[in-house]
Symmetry: C2
Subunit: 329 residues, 2 copies
Amino acid sequence: MTVTIYDVAREAKVSMATVSRVLNGNPNVKPETRKKVKEVIKRLNYRPNAVARGLASKKTTTVGVIIPDISNMYYSSLARGLDDIAEMYNYQTIITNTDHDPEKERDSFLNLVSKQVDGIVFLGGTLNEATIEDIKNSNVPVVICGTSEKDADLPSVNIDYFSAIKEVTERLLEKGSENVYFVKANYSRQLEGRIEDGLKAAYDEAGKSFKEEYIESVAEDYQTGKELFEQLVDHDADVIITMSDEAAVGVLHGALDRGISLPNRLQLISCSNTRLVHMMRPPVTSIAIPLYDIGAVGMRLLTKYMNDETVDEPNVILPYRIEYRLSTK
Amino acid sequence: MTVTIYDVAREAKVSMATVSRVLNGNPNVKPETRKKVKEVIKRLNYRPNAVARGLASKKTTTVGVIIPDISNMYYSSLARGLDDIAEMYNYQTIITNTDHDPEKERDSFLNLVSKQVDGIVFLGGTLNEATIEDIKNSNVPVVICGTSEKDADLPSVNIDYFSAIKEVTERLLEKGSENVYFVKANYSRQLEGRIEDGLKAAYDEAGKSFKEEYIESVAEDYQTGKELFEQLVDHDADVIITMSDEAAVGVLHGALDRGISLPNRLQLISCSNTRLVHMMRPPVTSIAIPLYDIGAVGMRLLTKYMNDETVDEPNVILPYRIEYRLSTK
DNA sequence: TTGAAAGCGCTAACAT
DNA sequence: ATGTTAGCGCTTTCAA
């Protein structure tokens, strides 16, 4: 029924090995033989079975991507960068959503390994001990993107969140801000930890005292951001930094609804850099994380591991930019 | 090195066939044998090789998803619905981006088929003749989501765009609007064609004459929407309907920048229903397409085909809602 | 209830 | 330059 390599071989009056060689671009084939085989392949409309190929060669030209939520712009931007480079290197990507659930993360990983993917990328994962253990036991190349997991000493791609947030906060403090609040989004414990460190460092250097309540709980979406604003305003925040762009919009509208003007009475900064920030009024100052690039570089790094190329620096730090817009002074 | 079914069989002192039976939940295994095998599986930390399994059984528990752009909220919302249901049925999804390129669409399809996926979903695709031909020749179940391809008589999930746009337009015309413009976004030729039909039908029924220039060219993102607004305002549009939410925001800001107030001098309606529309000021009236549900129902439909269940209605039409917000009178 | 053995469709030595 | 053959790790008859 389905055409196999045998059919092609018989029809072209060669052995299946020769067909295989033609398929894989092996130079040891006489040009006219190659031509004949190619013609038969075309005529029979033959397409090699990738599963059989994978079993025989132990390469599936498939990579796994483990991601919290593909419908979140933050992650889908990362994913798009990944996917473009993957395609460039002829890999396809299996994407699984985890909703930040470490158990799902681990399940997905194990599933992908049993599917014999050639490599796996974690995007903004939380990676518990068990998962890290599994990663080390399997010998699948793994790259971690958009979350700093240096401790686990796995290859990674990131920006220097610590410096970014420190730079932003220093400037704010210099200009007279007192209470800089940071709103987490559960994107990654380690990553948000580094942001907190940056915040504290800026306070330290400015000789001001940092209060723990400056770190507010979690808001990853518009509605939560809006609700959260109610609490923050009672704390006399004069600056709010949010991890999530969507939450930033929520805070923005929460403020506007109460007649609080930006940037005079409140300044707002977001830490992602999705297309959203360009679509707000006023446009929101943002740490421009190169999401697409993080994904792209992560995938490129993974290809190096998959092809056993030598890697000079397994922990890549990409440059960030701070885009000052109208939501800050 | 890697543990195989043989290792388990030897260790458990049974044949590999028995191990296979345990693995697949075959009832013909004595309970104590089953117990012993399971224990060895656990002890050796054995995980079946899905590729070998796929080759032997011709089932990969993997489905393909062909999508224009995963970083676009419209599509990623659809994708998330898909993925959740896929996970529920124990499938994983290979996602490929096509950027509306029919050639890429076809390539992806062929690639997925060679990877022996159990089914394929097209999200908002354009599907040229060649691809449709390929689909019919392969016997992989295929479902089309979020674009009306009834002509190709493939299973599909959609909303009734024709009625939705007709309903909206009728009301606008009743209330005195004259020039209702529609801005396409290249989401799907057929789908946008039906929207145009609905627009015309509303004009017909109102006894007013529809002018072809009411249909404006393409704007899929913020910037293009903003630029496009310049042209539209010269045409004396009093209503703009955009396919894309991002483009709607662009139009909105284009209008506000020129001091044109909504909804008095201009009314705005978007046709998608991403989280974006809730985040605008003023909030934009929108045809509430249940994106997540379209994806979810599409995947559910696909599982029916993959399991040879009987399908009563291959062309599902999901209900829509029109959410009137402050951008319209 | 269990085992033996024949594939699944390909790659990759190894011969020739 | 080409063919032969032995797997890859599993599922699935068919026998016992």
